[in-house]
């Protein structure tokens, strides 16, 4: 069993595999829309490699973090819309 960590997604506690990227973990948990576009549409990860910027979430208060570029950490607070 891979190591699991507890993170908060929009205030809700979720268990995620520690080695997964935040983008992959959120998608696996059924959260496909990670941000809202300028006109309010849901958008989710596209490129998985840091280029498209569609996976941006707020992490521990820091806005515009690319969720495909870092892994889940115990206690991490993720906000997406």
């Amino acid at each position: 069993m891979p190591e699991r960590v507890r993170v908060k997604v929009n205030g809700r506690e979720l268990e995620m595999p520690a080695e997964a990227s935040v983008a992959a973990a959120l998608m696996s948990a059924g959260v496909s829309g990670l941000r809202r576009s300028r006109t309010g549409e849901p958008r989710g990860p596209v490129c998985g490699m840091g280029v498209c910027m569609e996976c941006r979430v707020r992490v521990d208060g820091r806005a515009h973090q690319r969720a495909c570029q870092f892994s889940c950490r115990e206690g991490m607070e993720i906000e997406c819309r």
């Binding site: 997964a20 989710g44 490699m49």
Partner: protein, 426 residues
């Protein structure tokens, strides 16, 4: 700001090309710094699942290490000027000084707009593969693999091996072209293709078939397909859709390097760019596959180290690889019908929400950017620029510093450099 790192040769990008370039240059006795925004070397293809590297990457890493290459992962080059490179990392920013610079920044997927392409769970083909490698649980999910190019089969085989239900592989190129492309593959590649086909046994492969639209409310629910006069819908959980690759040439553009017609960084026989002391290897110079990438990396490494004579046995192999890839890619070129898919209301620029209809009236990319803000958002036109180039033949030569959204701090610290703007685009 103080220079934090200095080397005779700095290599940007630790994929096959960058690893080979760094190892080769260091073996000639040069002090070499190899950096990549990823924490581990390997680039796109040698990225293994869950944060490890593949055996091939490990082999090259060891060779580079034995030669004395200094590796720095987690560092993204965000701006550059003659002799200097600004690197952003988790802790802030540093400047690396170079005498010779080798750009090995690779390529990204070419994504083309169609109605619904911005729905969540519509990913690139390599994109979905990368997400699964990063831990996305794909078992028993229904996936449609579509678009164009040799990557589709590789992605389909990988996804299936990970337990996905791959419903269909839809290659937009006509069946005749696909067959001709296969017939002209060198034996090793043909064997590889055959193995991939066996690994996807039971999954229909339709040539001359493409996605016309993706539909769903909050996320992807179904895809509308077309093949000739036949049109139908397919329910699925994920769409993995990419139209081949396009070079990451932004850093080179920033440094004034000339580009090729295919938007790669133009190089001569020794991988030297139009700007003195700057070299380019791998897919940043043009799409030609992994073997051409590492061979061109070796050539660039030796040549930048001033040992051109060592490149002699490598040139012909590289050229053969490049020519065979180019022939293949010409046969699989995106068909004209794909241009007609983007409606006036289809999003072109995802970052700024600019539609195809809003950008279309302008004469060129520069004007469209100024008037509509397309390409001015967080991705700096990396996605929509390549799409606009395909749709309207626009030349996309507008990289400006920083080439990626840098933190305000990076820019402030970099301020003395003449070419750095202080505009922040996130």
């Amino acid at each position: 700001m103080p220079v934090k790192a200095a080397a005779q040769i700095v290599v940007v990008g630790g994929g096959p090309a960058g690893l080979a370039a760094a190892a080769s240059a260091a073996e000639c006795g040069k002090r070499v710094l190899l950096l990549d925004e990823n924490p581990l070397p390997g680039g796109q293809i040698w990225r293994a699942k869950n944060g490890t590297i593949t055996a091939e990457a490990e082999g090259w890493r060891q060779r580079a290490q034995a030669a004395g290459v200094e590796w720095r992962g987690g560092r993204q080059a965000v701006a550059a000027a003659t002799g200097q490179l600004w690197l952003e990392h988790a802790g802030g920013v540093e400047v690396a000084a170079w005498e010779e610079l080798i750009l090995a920044t690779g390529a990204r997927e070419l994504l083309l707009p169609f109605p619904g392409w911005t729905l969540p769970n519509c990913c690139g083909a390599g994109g979905l593969q990368a997400l699964v490698k990063a831990g996305l649980e794909i078992r028993d999910k229904r996936v449609l693999v579509a678009g164009s190019g040799p990557l589709l089969m590789a992605v389909a085989a990988f996804l299936r091996q990970q337990g996905a239900r791959v419903l269909l592989i839809a290659e937009q190129a006509p069946a005749g072209q696909v067959a001709a492309a296969a017939l002209h593959l060198p034996p090793a590649k043909l064997r590889q293709a055959w193995q991939l086909r066996r690994a996807t046994r039971g999954v229909p492969f339709l040539a001359g078939c493409w996605v016309e639209a993706a539909e769903g409310r909050q996320q992807l629910e179904r895809v509308r397909l077309r093949r000739g006069v036949r049109r139908w819908s397919l329910e699925c959980d994920y769409l993995a859709c990419g139209f081949g690759l396009t070079p990451n040439s932004e850093l080179g553009q920033l440094l004034g390097c000339a580009l090729t017609a295919e938007a790669g960084i133009a190089v001569n026989r020794w991988q030297q760019t139009s700007v003195e002391h700057i070299w380019c290897a791998g897919e940043a110079a043009g799409i030609a596959g992994v073997e051409a990438a590492w061979r061109s990396g070796e050539i660039a490494g030796y040549a930048a180290a001033g040992r051109q004579e060592r490149t002699a046995p490598l040139l012909a192999r590289r050229d053969r690889e490049q020519q065979s890839s180019q022939r293949l890619l010409r046969r699989l070129a995106p068909r004209a019908e794909l241009r007609a898919l983007a409606q006036d209301t289809t999003w072109l620029c995802r970052c700024e929400d600019v539609t195809v209809g809003e950008a279309r009236p302008y004469a060129n990319w520069r004007e469209a950017k100024l008037q509509t803000r397309c390409g001015m958002g967080a991705c700096q036109g990396r996605i929509c620029g390549a799409a606009a180039r395909f749709l309207w033949g626009w030349q996309i030569n507008a990289a400006r510093p920083p080439i990626l959204p840098a933190r305000v701090g990076t820019l402030a610290q970099a301020a003395p450099a003449p070419s750095i703007s202080t505009e922040v685009t996130v």
